[in-house]
Symmetry: C2
Subunit: 358 residues, 2 copies
Amino acid sequence: MKTLTVELGSRSYPIHVGQQLLGNAELLTRHIRSRQVMVVTNDTIAPLYLENVRQQLSDFDTASVILPDGEQYKNLDTLNTIFTALLEQRFNRDCTLVALGGGVVGDITGFAAASYQRGVAFLQIPTTLLAQVDSSVGGKTGVNHPLGKNMIGAFHQPGCVVIDTDTLDTLDDRQLSAGLAEVIKYGLIRDAGFFDWLEANMAALRARDKQVLAYAIEHSCSIKAEIVAADERESGQRALLNLGHTFGHAIETGTGYGNWLHGEAVATGMLMAADLSARHGWLSADMVQRTKHLLQQAGLPISPPAEMDEAQFMKLMAIDKKVVDGELRLVLLKAIGDAIVTGDFRAELLGETLGLAS
Amino acid sequence: MKTLTVELGSRSYPIHVGQQLLGNAELLTRHIRSRQVMVVTNDTIAPLYLENVRQQLSDFDTASVILPDGEQYKNLDTLNTIFTALLEQRFNRDCTLVALGGGVVGDITGFAAASYQRGVAFLQIPTTLLAQVDSSVGGKTGVNHPLGKNMIGAFHQPGCVVIDTDTLDTLDDRQLSAGLAEVIKYGLIRDAGFFDWLEANMAALRARDKQVLAYAIEHSCSIKAEIVAADERESGQRALLNLGHTFGHAIETGTGYGNWLHGEAVATGMLMAADLSARHGWLSADMVQRTKHLLQQAGLPISPPAEMDEAQFMKLMAIDKKVVDGELRLVLLKAIGDAIVTGDFRAELLGETLGLAS
């Protein structure tokens, strides 16, 4: 097992990465300082791992909530089912929530923890590659609104993140690919060497080579932990982690939550960002080609949905969280491994990139 | 105009108290650092003050949301109408929300501000006595759940609080009395001299003597500001501000939100707390009598609802936010002006106090 730390002063917390961690009672309980524990999971994960996790928590008053699986359920109504379960079972302000599942479960459970009785503790046990390398780390929590992805939420850091890489054994190929999109993102935004490594190891990653996957997860988490430690509330460089996300969120909202996986939308969005960067002469055609090729090797989509046109993209992107004083800012690339957040792009070139969609 | 400060380091903010402040554009805009401003109010307040406030904000891109008036609308559904309005009008993360109304508007707008795009700025313009002396100060925001009052929310401090005492001219008598409950609370928990002053001035307060009301508001805000500065997240003494609230929240939830005003429920709850304190020999019968008399003079109810029995009280009180490790703690009185938070009360005496209800 390897342990990384997200350095946030009194709110610092560890990320444990290893095999068979879900069966490690000492590790799972080390960060629980309450009597009452509510495990939140979904109907895909529950039959696989819930009983095992609850067994490790047998020293506590443990209950669970099982949510329906899918991005389309990441909303205020589902959030409310968690509050109802907590209140029906008289959970107090000193309770702990445990998010057992992928990004949707982690985001919604984290927001439930942020807002139940104005804030309770929670732990992350991510079971998808995407959640392990990205969404479980850094304290961004929330739900979607029909008009915009992740528009309702809070910054609320977990007490720890426990990544059991064995859970990837039960992940389907499409979900594995979606997670690889966020792994590739780290190479694109700040680690050209890691991008090279991913090009060399993509086949092994998709074949689920344990060692190669573990390295990809640890390296991704270490980059994420470093960026979050430097800029917890996204006033600066943390925005780089949103490479492809402004385009991607528009795709997820525009096509209806749950139709495109988040990682799939981010993959296409990253290629759109690369394309727009190239149109400004910031990124060479060769680098765009390498990006496109790596995303394809990862089994990811690279073309925006045919049903979305430029106008719909622009409307959905106008409410992006990076908009400042009415100006849309995008994460763009100066090179592989070198991203910037900028409002200094040409509208007609953005139009050309978005025009690819229709 | 008097100005107090809630001292919270970089999140410190002023409370302005005076007449004709809603017409003071410079004051209202001093703390707005964005282009987009959303005024949230309700259908009682909108016809009275919305146009005036929007006029003062004419330098900004201003929009408004009008919520239905009443505690029964302080829920996730109403909260979502604010998010919908913000998204439909493409409000960005650098926008400012303005809460124009009573406690319900302030609490729900504050929580909308805490969670829209993971946190935006907001100002409080409280228009009821209760909101002016209590709920607009201190950053407690949130909504109710059918199973428990204020169970969903966040700590999120406003940028300023603007108290225009002229708004009390349009407040009905019942609402004025409800606000007086929280004013009396400050005397009970830590200022016996203020309690004496209230006994001497209750008639003038109910007759809406401007000077007397202004003093009551300023003094209440100064106590609240001091306690919040010392304990923002309620890990200690801030809980004293909940005198009567554990009983009161149970009454509000048990009778259906909106039937008892919050201040009315708190008044009855404070007398229940005084009664329980007396049963322990901590408070003299004379002091209970004075408390009861002052609440009656303020036009407040002093008997719990006949339809609630001990069992229902106990069930609703079990999820109180002050419960720690399964132990219910209550704010009780050692004297007028001296409150404690304690789990060290006798269950059978609590039963006797609750038995008064049925």
